[in-house]
Assembly symmetry: C2
Homo-oligomer: 144 residues x 2
């Protein structure tokens, strides 16, 4: 929900500002949005034992293209998350692109924290260009 609101807001941002190199994070608004989508997809595929997909970042040059990518990956991610059960929490998995053992619950929390963290960075950058960021509130979104 928050990501979609960010896509909406970002469509008001000029191409120059979207691509501008900024200090911190992965270095810019557009690249941060791609990075969020990419990292979520990689880890959620990893949890499921699916091979990683290397996205070609330079193929995504507009908000619309990133939004399409996000929507398209979501058609696989959402059905998987809808199968989530409490006993997945401590299931141990290995991940193709990194060493070590992880639990599925740990990975899920990592993905959530990762997106929120980067959105915090976006919120500073869009204020810098005079826009009001998307609300970061978890509460008040009717998620009960």
């Amino acid at each position: 929900m928050v990501r979609d609101e960010w896509f909406e807001l970002s469509e008001q941002i000029s191409r120059d500002e979207l691509m501008r190199k900024r200090i911190g994070g992965v270095g810019g608004i557009l690249s941060t949005l791609i990075h969020i989508v990419d990292v979520e997809n990689s880890w959620i595929r990893g949890i499921q034992g699916k091979p990683d997909i290397q996205l070609q970042f330079d193929k995504y040059n507009s908000i619309q293209q990133i939004r399409n990518l996000s929507n398209s990956l979501r058609t696989e991610i959402r059905p998987f998350l809808e199968t989530w059960k409490n006993d997945f929490e401590h299931d141990i998995v290995t991940i193709p692109w990194t060493e070590g053992l992880y639990t599925k619950g740990e990975i899920l929390r990592h993905v959530i924290a990762h997106e929120i963290h980067h959105i915090g960075q976006l919120s500073v950058w869009v204020r810098d260009i005079g826009l009001q960021p998307v609300s970061a509130n978890y509460i008040g979104r009717g998620l009960l």
Copy 2:
């Protein structure tokens, strides 16, 4: 854990930079750290039906003072969180300073997302002054 690492890092930051008014969020490094501690405390007291405590922000002018505040409030917050049970999740509570009904689980997630979001903002600001931010990774902290 992440907050304590931020306190540690912030002790290297000059008073001027800590207090400098910045664009976005609650407007600065020191004020963001107080705000994180304050919001967590208010909501976690709210879940427990305890009255809100209005912190006097102008009393906290150094990282050491905020760290002491955080440690002191943690002595009440941690024992409460250690009593958390799955069936708290959907318990409905009212909160003294705001209207509406909330579930305890929703509030807990709100507090977590709130801190991560603001720390994302801090990560941009400290890069601006040439420091390497604390890792935002959930994974790799030995939290299994």
